[in-house]
């Protein structure tokens, strides 16, 4: 079939590197996968039960475009409590189909053709393509292993042009588990303010920071709320990936613009997911903390095992990924991942799937049961010995 009937701007988007890799893994048997970017926990029972109850009550209709008022009030209370920013549930919050939709809406609402968007790499696979699909120009800024992949404000300055409109942040970061030291975050905020940029901050992993480390949202820094769209959801903290539910909080004019696109493309997020989300926000802390503690222990285990095996790996402070440095093996990220898969049946994701500066690293997710992690790291240790 001719590909010319596909629109140019879609055809020109490269296939996701992670998808390529997924297809190879799919074709193999008995693979232990450290390649999974979602919690291995099932959604806590009390949240599932709340959704079942709402179905029994017959809650099966549309909600308001912005999301049910009850959920928006819960979100406002939760964000105020945990992130110290207050949003008006009436016009500063929109409930979306996952954070992915919120990112897409925000970019489409903000970008004129040719506008540039700064974001830090290695990063979640959708950022570059989402920017392009919204008519923008992606401008990745590399972060460094020596900084544990946190962002330097000075590097942003170098990538700035007259066309820069938006800055995207994702801390803690998928795939590196990086967090931002508060001092540097303040510099990034000052940079955004100085150049009048809108900040999109994807804080989907913010509950998952370890060792009592407080999470700071850039939206809470002085003067930032007016220029920041805060994006968050339920997938990671409450193990709700398949529910597809997230939200954006921001200045009313931006939320209104996002709502315009959302109402014509999505209408509203599914009502059962919204009902479950209310339960998660209002009573989910205990189950979230239990999962976080489990992640923390696994992180400790995987980091000390990899270092013992001679693969340098820093102790990431957030998310559920480790990003070990495999340069000592003399292999590229892709070679390492493919050979490990072929010879040891262990799947990790090449760092390059998350940006060119991910070369020399691989992403290992520890959102996998402890016994699987144990076997996987033993096999990796065996692999690098040879």
């Amino acid at each position: 079939m001719s590909s010319s009937r596909i629109a140019d701007h879609v055809r020109n988007i490269p296939r996701s590197g992670i998808r390529d890799f997924f297809e190879i893994v799919q074709s193999m048997k008995d693979v232990i996968s450290l390649g999974i970017g979602e919690p291995d926990f099932v959604t806590p029972w009390h949240i599932r039960e709340a959704a079942v109850y709402s179905l029994e009550k017959g809650k099966t209709g549309y909600t308001s475009n912005l999301g049910s008022p009850r959920l928006r009030r819960s979100i406002a209370a939760y964000v105020e409590k945990h992130f110290s920013v207050s949003y008006n549930p009436h016009d500063e919050i929109i409930v979306t189909v996952g954070v992915s939709e919120a990112i897409d809406l925000a970019l489409r609402a903000l970008l004129n053709p040719g506008d540039e968007v700064l974001y830090h790499e290695p990063c979640y696979v959708s950022y570059g393509p989402s920017i392009r699909l919204a008519g923008g120009v992606p401008v990745p800024v590399a972060t460094r292993g020596e900084d544990e992949f946190s962002l330097r404000a000075a590097d942003l300055e170098k990538a700035l042009t007259k066309k820069t409109r938006v800055l995207m942040l994702n801390f803690p970061t998928n795939p590196t588990g990086a967090v931002m030291p508060l001092e540097e975050l303040k510099k990034v905020a000052a940079f955004a303010a100085k150049h009048d940029l809108v900040v999109l901050t994807d804080e989907i992993y913010s509950e998952l920071t370890y060792d009592e480390l407080p999470h700071h949202s850039i939206a809470a820094l002085p003067g930032m709320k007016e220029r920041t769209v805060f994006l968050h959801g339920f997938s990671k903290a409450f193990a709700m990936t398949g529910w597809r539910i997230g939200y954006a909080c921001g200045p009313a004019d931006i939320i209104e613009a996002m709502m315009k696109i959302h109402q014509y493309s999505m209408l509203c997020a599914p009502i059962m997911a919204q009902e479950a989300a209310v339960e998660a926000l209002e009573r989910g802390t205990r189950s979230m903390e239990r999962m976080r503690e489990e992640y923390r222990l696994r992180r400790n285990f995987i980091v000390s095992s990899l270092n013992e095996a001679g693969i340098p790996c820093h102790l990431p402070k957030g998310a559920f990924y480790v990003f070990p440095d495999i340069r000592g093996t003399g292999l590229t990220s892709r070679e390492f991942s493919l050979k490990l898969l072929e010879t040891k049946n262990v799947a990790v994701v090449p760092g390059t799937a998350f940006g060119t500066c991910g070369e020399g690293y691989v992403r290992c997710s520890y959102a996998t049961a402890m016994d699987q992690i144990k076997i996987a790291v033993e096999r990796i240790a065996d692999f690098v010995k040879k």
Binding site: I18, F22, I36, V42, N300, F301, A347, V349
Partner: protein, 159 residues
């Protein structure tokens, strides 16, 4: 809760080396902590949780609500300890509400439990009354579900 205790409660047979890695401590440190918890009586023992429907399915478990006349000195303690001393008795708790002691008794048969209640328990002087109920089915015990559900399938690699 302390992470070490939580991990041991989850699986007390966990290798010490795994514990050390998960806690970010040395094996020696972990061993010393466990030894201390054992010697000060925080850890009372290590037991396997058995699905009784698969093993020893004919055994019966009775849950007995016991009303007791408290003593001027010591309250319920002496009677409770006296009951706890019997080998058949699995657990004894002092309760608030309509009765005083909750006694859980394991027996090989209904007859054995009945004889324990009639001959031993109800004849203790301070015991005023016993209400005995039998367990019919177990769904969850010590935090473990008895029906093992198959884990839902996951995609092998996701972003």
């Amino acid at each position: 809760m302390d992470s070490l205790i939580r991990l041991l409660r989850q699986n007390s047979a966990i290798p010490r080396a795994d514990l050390a890695r998960q806690l970010g401590q040395s094996e020696e440190e972990v061993a010393a902590k466990i030894a201390k918890l054992e010697s000060d009586g925080t850890i009372l023992g290590y037991q396997a949780v058995i699905n009784r429907e698969k093993y020893d399915a004919d055994a019966v478990t009775a849950v007995i609500e016991v009303r007791v006349t408290p003593e001027r000195e010591g309250g319920f303690d002496r009677t409770a300890n006296r009951i706890a001393g019997f080998e058949e008795v699995e657990s004894v708790y002092l309760m608030s509400g309509g009765y005083d002691l909750l006694v859980i008794v394991d027996g090989r048969s209904l007859r054995e439990v009945a004889s324990f209640v009639a001959d031993k328990l109800s004849t203790i002087e301070a015991v005023q009354s016993c209400a005995t109920r039998f367990r019919l089915k177990t769904y969850k015990e010590n935090g473990l579900l008895h029906a093992v559900e198959e884990a839902p399938e996951r995609l092998a690699v996701t972003p």
